[in-house]
Amino acid sequence: MRRDIPDLLRSHDFTHGLDDDQLAFIAGCARNFRFDQGDYLFREGDAADRFYLIRHGRVALEMNIRGRGQVTVRTLQDDDILGVSWLVPPHRSTFSARALTLTRAIGFDAVCLRGKCDADHDLGYALMMNFMPELLGRLRSARLQLADVYGAPNG
């Protein structure tokens, strides 16, 4: 059975605490996407005009590092939020996102969603409170990666 977008959104942590009207309201900014293995969802430096909730699949966040080429710094998968740069100016993607497997995701039009959050601050606040724990988790993980704990003790 095919589930509609508000229905899919309801089961995701990102929409925790939203009522049916608010769900329907933000669902107006969303549609389903499908990416084949190897497809780029967005590229480093692109306008960050969309963000995704991954339904199924695995996506690599990549950075281009001079001398090393593309380096994967994080992978994301089922139920993860993908894309943060859409939230704040200058709305440019910091990483590239490439599908490692067939990936299905709900994609939000960032301009549309920002507009709705501006128009309804209660909605914006609720979404931000759902976004923040995930962001803090990412920050903690990134710091642990930065600590390079597996490096040899004497360098």
């Binding site: 695995r58 690599a60 966040l61 990549e62 080429g69 593309q70 380096v71 994967t72 710094v73 994080r74 992978t75 490439r98 490692l100 497997t101 988790g137 903690r140 993980s141 642990l144 990666q145 600590a147 390079d148 704990v149 597996y150 490096g151 040899a152 003790p153 004497n154």
Partner: protein, 251 residues
């Protein structure tokens, strides 16, 4: 990274997963190295990272050279306690070595345990230890194995991130789970805290500590950690006993 396999003496050399030996490079010195294999194996396996005089000498060993072995020492993983329960194994970097014996025990007697899950963390794909064995484990349906690295080239299809990111995705029943952890201390700290958050009690989380060990019998005090000697009371402790000490920098 260098792996030494040592022929056992004729009367055998019984040990339990998680224990270590003192390996002696004649004329240079001794180092505590965990045993990476299972007691049923016909030889003793030690994987060594050359980071000092003794380990550099051990890493340079050639087949046929004589080596001194004292052991086995230390507390083992609580394999008996794991029976009838879910088991979560979390390793980081070299930590996979002392856990290898536990993993082999779990798989050899798979029907004695409920869900078995294993998270393996490393710096980059090329630096994963026992990579071939891990890839074979991935094919098994009776163990959930997830491998993650801190960064990877584009052809890497597995996870990139830290092991704690994967904890919420593991299918275990926290009420019955025994967790076995070994890796860099900061990684074990984050992992133990994450496992506690899942609902596993700290007395059922076991960590293998690493300290610079010299005598291996609790005399010299080199490996003291709070009131404990890692060589004699450990190297495996419950998180309940050791967690408070791991988060303090002065011990």
């Amino acid at each position: 990274m260098h792996t030494l396999t040592i022929e056992k003496p004729a009367d055998g050399f019984a040990f339990r997963p998680g224990q270590f030996n003192m390996l002696y490079a004649f004329g240079i010195g001794e180092a505590a190295i965990s045993i990476s294999g299972h007691s049923d194996d016909p030889y003793l396996t030690h994987t060594i990272r050359a980071i000092g005089k003794v380990t550099e000498a051990l890493a340079a060993f050639e087949p046929g050279m004589p080596i001194g072995v004292r052991g086995p020492f230390g507390s083992p993983w609580p394999m008996d306690l794991c029976e009838g329960r879910d088991v979560l194994v979390v390793s980081g970097g070299l930590g996979v070595c002392p856990l290898r014996g536990a993993l082999r025990h779990l798989l050899r007697h798979r029907d004695r345990f409920r869900n078995v899950a294993c998270l393996v963390g490393g710096r980059a794909p090329a630096q994963l230890i026992y990579r071939q064995e891990l890839q074979e484990l991935e094919q098994r349906a009776d163990i959930q194995l997830e491998i993650t690295v801190d960064h990877a080239p584009p052809d890497w299809q597995r996870h990139v991130g830290v092991v704690t990111d994967l904890l919420p995705r593991i299918r275990i029943d926290p009420e019955t789970t025994i967790a076995l952890l070994c890796g860099p201390e900061v990684m074990m700290r984050f992992a133990a805290e994450g496992i506690e958050e899942l609902g596993v009690a700290p007395e059922r989380i076991f960590v293998s500590m690493e300290r610079n060990m010299k005598c291996a019998i609790g005399h010299c005090g080199r490996c003291q950690l709070g009131p404990n000697y890692v060589c004699k009371d450990g190297p495996i402790f419950t998180w309940q006993r050791i967690g408070r000490l791991v988060t303090r920098s002065e011990v």
